[in-house]
């Protein structure tokens, strides 16, 4: 059987990885791995993750990696970057970690224009804890804590992270949203989010629309429909802010 080539920056002893079948994390992490390879930065990248499904990436890469509590990846990466500006710090988190419990860190690191790259996986729910409401849960979407569907009059509307961050960041920031459904674009955005840190232009943030068939309780076709139709309709994909020229849609 022919296996697709693994990025060099992946850590082979921990493969196959532990994400559920159909989960989008593996695709996002492949794009990140290929971007690291392409930019030849494996030896000076520090990868950080928190608890939540992103945790399962703690030993995913053959790069120095560290793990912390929910939402706290951002300050840990900031602490490392401020101490060792020569290192490339990549924080990897879920929508709960970034937009809810760690939102103050995300917001303030963006405002301070911290020279880190933060990657946030948006799968519209808290997956590792069993599928509860997330800041990104779509209106009407059922979760374990919104069993009758998200009622926006009670829990508000889904967080549009990149839109918010684009509004508050300085020129030089890179802010984009990609989807695991468009791999080539995802890889390009991933590379730019890293390159922006390498060039010291500013804060870099990439939200990745991803899938969670386990908690969505969807089959393959339904999973893909939800991602491509419903999620993309609410969360438009593209570059919202880029020092690399006109934003790509």
């Amino acid at each position: 059987m022919i296996q697709p080539a693994m990025p060099k920056s992946w850590y082979a002893p921990t493969k196959p990885h532990k994400f559920c079948p159909g989960c989008g994390h593996g695709i996002a992490l492949k794009a990140l791995g290929e971007a690291i390879d392409e930019l030849n930065i494996q030896n000076r990248t520090v990868f950080g993750c928190d608890i939540g499904c992103s945790l399962l990436a703690w030993n995913f890469f053959a790069v120095d990696s560290t793990q912390t509590h929910h939402g706290r990846t951002t300050p840990v990466m900031v602490g490392i970057k401020r101490s060792r500006p020569d290192l490339l710090c990549v924080g990897y988190m879920g929508d709960g970690g970034g937009y809810s419990i760690g939102s103050q860190h995300l917001l303030n690191s963006a405002i301070r224009d911290e020279k880190v790259t933060l990657i946030l996986i948006n799968n519209t729910n808290y997956a590792m804890t069993g599928g509860q409401l997330a800041p990104t849960t779509l209106p009407g979407q059922k979760t374990e804590t919104t069993p009758y569907g998200r009622d926006v009059t009670k829990t508000g509307y889904p967080t549009k992270g990149p839109e918010m961050l684009a509004a508050i960041t300085a020129d030089g920031a890179y802010i984009a949203r990609a989807t695991v459904a468009k791999y080539r674009q995802l890889r390009t955005f991933m590379k730019r989010a890293l390159q922006n840190q390498m060039e010291g232009n500013g804060f870099s943030f990439l939200e990745v629309l991803s899938t969670c068939p386990t908690n969505w309780r969807t089959n393959a076709a339904q999973t893909w429909d939800f991602l491509e139709d419903q999620m993309e309709a609410y969360f438009p994909v593209g570059e919202l802010k880029s020092p690399f020229g006109k934003g790509e849609k």
Binding site: Y11, Q42, N43, R44, V46, I51, L55, W58, N59, F61, A62, V63, D64, S65, T66, Q67, T68, H69, R72, T74, P75, V76, M77, V78, G79, I80, K81, R82, S83, R84, D86, L87, Q104, H105, L107, N108
Partner: protein, 363 residues
């Protein structure tokens, strides 16, 4: 070549917060992360004025959670980093302090206790003993120095960095609002001048060498899939902690010979206790003085030994809290039959007259 913050030694008359800054500079601290809370603010004020002169860094974070976690990041990157906080800030920092325990991160934090619970006062207390020694969802694998004088603030901040980087447990200098804000004479010195070797920091991430060729990648983690894995990890922490304890434990003992009663106190209250015991001795009252300098690890054997040697039939605990030191004492002296009296004054200062009166009411 950046100049040394302190060359030789010199006398000074300054606030405790200013001393923290000078001591951190002398310790070779590279970076401070902090968030404003009274009564520690002036640590940041002095640091931000002095640090750039010596090539050191500062970041005011969005909250104390972030201040704690940025310190955790910085020490992983191999920099001597520290923070200072108090009260509700100390509560928020328990999350990163727990991570530091789990991952053996040499985090240094100065705690200037204020009144509690909750917002309490911005003034003074000794109510952060339990929190600092045993906060978090772990087992209290921390080192806590409770300082009493301005000279000690300087000495123990320097010591805290060395202890932290030697044993890799989070290390605290526990002060209070009085010590933070008051001025008192002391001597500042270059540690090298006193024969104190500064322990160099070592990184955990961003290591030299090509991954896969020269070395394996670092995969640092503080979460475990299996309860047995966690059990083993905690036992390792406990084993290392117990092995370290006798090497870092510190205490002070005075006038305990032939004492009928020993006054136990820590931090700034021990100054009043010391004076009270001396005054009582002059009046012929056989009082003794014992002060744990490290609250974690606690000088348990030393206190038991002092009890035995003195033959003292009573202990008196004096503290500016409703029994936080008292609880430690009961736990550490389990099995001793000695009755323990207590002078508990949560959130307010204790002076020698208070202790003298209490001792006289007992004996």
């Amino acid at each position: 070549m950046v100049e040394k913050p302190i060359t030789g030694s010199r006398k000074a008359f300054m606030t405790g917060n200013e001393i923290v800054t000078w001591a951190a500079l002398a310790s070779g601290a590279d970076i401070m992360f902090g968030y404003p809370i009274t009564p520690q603010n002036e640590v940041m004020h002095y640091w931000t004025r002095l640090a750039p002169r010596f090539g050191r860094e500062f970041l005011q974070t969005e909250d104390e959670i972030s201040a704690g976690f940025t310190v955790c990041g910085a020490v992983q990157a191999g920099r001597k980093a520290f923070t200072a906080t108090a009260g509700p800030g100390n509560v928020l920092m328990q999350e990163p302090f727990g991570m530091a325990e789990a991952m053996r991160l040499p985090v240094v934090a100065v705690i200037q206790q204020r009144g509690g619970p909750s917002s309490g006062t911005v003034v003074y207390s000794q109510q952060e003993v339990t929190l600092t020694a045993y906060g978090g969802n772990g087992e209290g694998h921390r080192i806590v120095y409770s300082v009493a004088t301005h000279q000690e603030i300087f000495d123990y901040v320097i010591k805290a960095f060395n202890t932290a980087w030697t044993y890799r447990f989070p290390t605290f200098v526990l002060g209070d609002g009085y010590q933070a804000k008051m001025r008192e004479p002391l001597e500042l010195y270059d540690p090298a001048e006193r024969g104190i070797q500064l322990v160099p920091p070592t990184p955990l991430v961003g290591l030299p060498g090509a991954i896969g060729e020269d070395r394996e990648p670092q995969h640092l983690c503080n979460i475990y899939s299996l309860e047995e894995e966690l059990y083993d990890a905690v036992l390792r922490l406990e084993k290392d902690y117990q092995a370290m304890a006798p090497l870092v434990v510190e205490w002070q003992e005075k006038n305990c010979d032939h004492a009928e009663l020993i006054v136990v106190s820590h931090g700034v209250v021990s100054r009043a206790a010391d004076d009270a015991v001396q005054a009582l001795r002059q009046e012929g009252v056989r009082a003794g003085f014992f002060r744990p300098v490290t609250l974690r690890p606690f000088p348990q054997q030393q206190l038991r030994e002092a009890l035995r040697r003195s033959g003292a039939g009573r202990l008196l605990v004096a503290e500016s809290s409703q029994g936080q030191l008292l609880r430690l004492l009961r736990q550490e002296l389990y099995g001793e039959r000695v009755p323990i009296d207590a002078l508990l004054m949560p959130g307010v200062g204790i002076v020698d007259e208070d202790i003298i009166a209490k001792v006289k009411s007992i004996l």
